[in-house]
């Protein structure tokens, strides 16, 4: 059966306001466009709310959370890349891989916690419009700050307009994505952008202009699937997810392997929306004391390099609507 209502990312339930879930489903649907029935030799993107879809294979499309553009622009200086990627918490402009992070430091200047998110601003804007109190409560819980008020999160002036660049989602913390192109609508557009042109393989495919990990990752994979031709869609619940984090080779100050200091705060393993990296207080040291392959953690980007983001595509055939 075609999907009748799109779920929230990782199926989170943040409000009792039922209209919100309809609004979210409408938002997803409005950003999915079916190119069905063209009769071409190419595969097509299928809106699973319009057509049944038989999955041949799931294909998580994974990419590195650390921005590739920052690395290739500083090809011979990784420290400069890490410094730059952490440098602008007010806009997080360098972090353009649909994953952003916030670094908290202790009084000694050492990193005490790094928080990664993949939640889109569209979700939070809609949640705010449906249930401002829920948003305020979530901010309070996620940032462990009961003092946050509605006024802190909205733009000045009348109308209670949500301010995604509020202090608690920029310099003072992180709740969701804010970087200019880190929008779910753009990600969904990317996933549907089946344009293989005359390319017969990936070597002949013209890469997208952006020098990111994610854009060519998704475009090349979808183009290659469409040439089979396999039709494709996105697996429910549709969203951007932190799908892996690799701390092998990371060591405590005594040289032994680190414990599992990752916490999935929102989402579930494989479909995480918010992940925190923090050493439990009883360990007697902080994140900044950990070494990755012998190098002390000085920037959040060093951790981001080992975080993997994904959308889950499904390849197969379109059935009848």
């Amino acid at each position: 059966m075609p999907i009748t209502r799109f779920d929230t990312p990782a199926s989170v339930i943040d409000t009792a306001v039922a209209a919100f879930f309809d609004d979210w489903s409408d938002f997803i649907e409005s950003n999915l466009s079916t190119v069905a029935g063209t009769g071409t030799a190419l595969g097509e993107f299928v809106d699973p709310s319009e057509f049944d879809f038989t999955i041949t294979a799931e294909r998580p499309l994974v990419w590195m959370a650390f921005p590739r553009q920052v690395l290739v622009d500083r090809r011979d200086d990784r420290r400069a890349a890490f410094t730059f990627a952490d440098s602008d918490p007010a806009t997080r402009n360098p972090q353009n891989e649909y994953c952003e992070w916030h670094v908290a430091r202790n009084k000694a200047g050492k990193i005490s916690k790094v928080t990664f998110v993949t939640e889109s601003p569209e979700y939070w804007e809609r949640l705010w419009n449906a249930d401002r109190a829920a948003v305020v409560n979530l901010y309070r819980t996620l940032l462990n700050n009961p003092g946050i008020t509605e006024a802190d999160l909205e733009q000045p002036g009348p109308g209670h307009i949500y301010d995604q660049f509020n202090n608690f989602n920029t310099t003072g913390g992180i709740v969701h994505l804010i970087q200019g192109i880190n929008k779910l609508a753009l990600a969904l557009g990317l996933a549907q952008d089946v344009h293989t042109g005359t390319a017969r393989d990936n070597y002949e495919t013209i890469p997208p202009g952006l020098r990111t990990n994610v854009d060519p990752r998704v475009e090349f994979d979808i183009g290659a699937l469409a040439r089979k031709p396999l039709s494709l869609t996105l697996r429910e619940p549709i969203g951007l997810y932190i799908t892996g984090f690799d701390d092998t080779g990371w060591t405590k100050p005594d040289g032994s392997p680190v414990g599992n200091y990752w916490t999935i705060v929102r989402g579930v393993p494989g479909l995480a929306l918010r992940v925190e990296y923090q050493v439990p207080p009883g360990e007697g040291f902080v994140v900044g004391d950990i070494r990755i392959g012998g190098r002390p953690i000085e920037w959040g980007g060093q951790i981001a390099e080992h975080v993997t983001v994904a959308v889950v595509g499904a390849a197969g055939g379109r059935g009848r609507g």
Binding site: I3, P48, D52, F53, T54, I55, T56, A57, E58, R59, P60, L61, V62, W63, M64, R68, V72, R75, D76, D77, R78, R200, D201, N202, Y203, E204, P207, R211, T212, N213, V214, D215, P216, R217, F220, A224, L225, R227, K228, L230, T233, R235, E236, T243, G244, T248, G249, T251, P257, V258, G259, N260, I292, G293, G294, R295, T308, A314, A315, G316
Partner: protein, 581 residues
């Protein structure tokens, strides 16, 4: 949505110590020798370069290496020694002044790119004239230094000027980052390494290579005598030999090794077509711009040699400026990674036999799906059902395949005596049903597929030049090997050259081989992948079956690190002129 996947089955675990497996294991070993590539006959491979027709109009100009530069580049870096017999000497410096004198002595012995290319050309010319393999022999020497050695020989400032942080740290410090064991008790823990552990890191590695074993021994003995005189402490030495007879070019599990290497751009002279890497693709084929021969991608020399034009980060065939994060004297040098890897051949084949029986296929096929090639070297992408020795021996066909789309036949320039690639081309395998996502050759060389780092263009930034050779006596091809023989140590001296360690060797190892989800979901590289999660070393593969992927846990290990080091192979002038000065 309807889901056809059936990955809900319990993961398989294979016990490899059953008597039944032992009996089958001997049979497999014996049979493996029969998987021999069949070399095509009557083909006269032209001497390297020199054919004006190889020049591609409008292509970006490639650097021309003049005699001085060719004489400065160490020959094992480019084009590679590829000798059947090699010996590795690992030294620690005790007295700096004596070490410097020894460096001045050995510098004239160091074999350059110039000499290796001249030898290869002479060999090919003689082969062409005689019609048989000419009895030409040579013995060659190369050398490389650790960061510590550069510090004591050239000074702290010069050592610190190497921007490659992994090199400055050394292999021991990066060991667990590469997935090596964290538990002290594990035989692969760095504290147990024969060389390169925290307490036995080598300052200098000398690579001696020869066609004739006697030549090799003589040269090794001479170098050792002079090193003794210079008070260099020999930490470890390792003899390496290609496997004998029909297994020449195979590694100890029985598989042909080193089939796929990138082709380095650049010219030996300004003469038209005088390329370091010969070009075989017809200009009418658009792939002539980025392949030297079918399946051999061309990379700019700066991916290997410091300071030279590098691969563009966004482009298949355009160059980018070379790096400058190293002392000026280090230009044309290359980083050398050495890993001494012990191979447990019985553990590998018993696992393959046991798992193959459960998934219902012959052990050879199952093992070949782990590698991505049949024992002969024939790619399973081109011959999924059975090995094909003629394909394996055809150098214009045995590496010609991509994964995500149907591979199109290559248009080749005329090759005297070669009738063309007659084998069925590889069909697309985007879902990894033929060559699984975990297969060693798909993990370490994703070719055309997109990865966690984006487009396949990026994968060209990760390529390395491998220069490995087996060590220890083989048991593949041996009929009923004795227990004593089985217990003898064997493995691979893995060596590779690159202009970065972190973005090339380490990335391939940690990011792809060791990860079950990168560059694509499907499991760990079951051949070289290492994984250590707080002491747990179990890996897995999601094996493709008709009913969907079946997860198989790999509880045993068959590749165990036992030593190595991160080194820098300097330009030859710097050996006496900087490090020995």
């Amino acid at each position: 949505m309807k889901n056809k996947k059936s990955d809900m089955l319990e993961p398989l675990e294979i016990a490899i110590d059953s008597p039944a497996l032992n009996a089958k294991f001997n049979n497999v070993l014996e049979v493996l020798e029969k998987f021999e590539p069949k070399l095509p006959s009557g083909i006269f491979t032209p001497a390297l370069g020199g054919d004006p027709a190889e020049e591609l109009p409008d292509a970006p100009p490639e650097p021309v290496y003049n005699p001085k530069q060719r004489g400065n580049i160490q020959g094992n870096t480019i084009p590679g020694f590829n000798k059947d017999h090699q010996h590795f000497l690992f030294y620690r410096i005790r007295k700096v002044d004596r070490a410097k004198r020894w460096l001045k002595w050995i510098a004239p012995l160091i074999t350059s790119m110039e000499e290796v290319i001249a030898f290869v050309r002479a060999l090919r010319s003689a082969r062409r004239r005689l019609g048989v393999e000419p009895p030409m022999c040579s013995a060659w020497v190369n050398i490389a230094f650790s960061q510590h050695a550069i510090e004591v020989l050239a000074g702290r400032d010069d050592a610190a000027a190497f921007g490659e942080e992994s090199f400055r740290q050394g292999l021991a410090a990066r060991s667990t980052y590469l997935g090596d064991p964290t538990r002290n008790s594990h035989p692969g823990h760095r504290n147990k390494w024969v060389v390169g552990g925290p307490k036995n890191e080598a300052d200098i590695v000398v690579i001696i290579a020869a066609d004739d074993p006697g030549d090799l021994v003589n040269l090794v003995n001479m170098i050792k005598r002079r090193a003794d005189d210079a008070t260099l402490r020999l930490i470890f030495e390792q003899r390496g030999d290609t496997l004998p007879g029909r297994l020449r070019g195979h590694e100890h599990f029985g598989f042909k090794d080193g089939v796929s290497q990138p082709g380095v751009r650049g010219k030996v002279s300004a003469a038209p077509g005088d390329y370091i890497t010969p070009r075989y693709i017809d200009h009418a084929d658009p792939r002539a711009r980025y392949f030297a021969k079918p399946g051999q991608l061309l990379i700019w020399p700066g991916q290997i040699l410091l300071g030279e034009p590098r691969q563009h980060t966004e482009h298949l065939f355009n160059p980018a400026p070379g790096g400058s994060n190293f002392p000026a004297w280090a230009a044309l040098g290359s980083y050398l990674v050495c890993r001494r890897l012990r191979q447990d051949v019985p553990a590998f084949w018993k696992f393959a036999i046991g798992a193959a029986a459960i998934v219902g296929m012959p052990a050879e096929k199952f093992a070949s799906m782990l590698v991505g090639r049949w024992p002969s070297g024939a790619p399973i992408m081109r011959t999924p059902l059975a090995d094909n020795f003629a394909l394996a021996g055809d150098e214009w066909a045995n590496n010609h395949f991509i994964f995500d789309d149907n591979t199109l036949p290559s248009m080749l320039r005329p090759i005297p005596g070669y009738g063309g690639d007659p084998f069925p081309q590889a069909a697309q395998d985007i879902l990894g049903a033929v060559c699984p996502h975990f297969a060693h050759i798909r993990k370490s060389n994703p070719r055309d597929i997109a990865t966690d780092l984006g487009k396949p263009h990026d994968s060209m930034l990760r390529m390395i030049l491998r220069r490995g050779i087996p060590f220890g006596p083989p048991i593949v091809g041996v009929k009923k090997p004795s227990t004593k023989l089985i217990k003898q140590e064997r493995g691979l001296m893995f060596l590779c050259y690159a202009s970065t360690i972190e973005d090339q060797f380490e990335l391939l190892t940690r990011r792809w081989a060791n990860s079950p989800i990168q560059p694509n979901f499907g499991g760990h590289d079951p051949i070289i992948g290492q994984r250590d999660e707080r002491g747990a070393r179990t890996r897995f593969i999601d094996f493709p079956t008709a009913a969907g992927p079946r997860r198989i846990r790999l509880k045993n290990e068959w590749v165990i690190p036992t030593g190595g080091g991160y080194f820098f192979a300097p330009p030859i002038h710097a050996i006496a002129g900087v490090l020995g000065a």
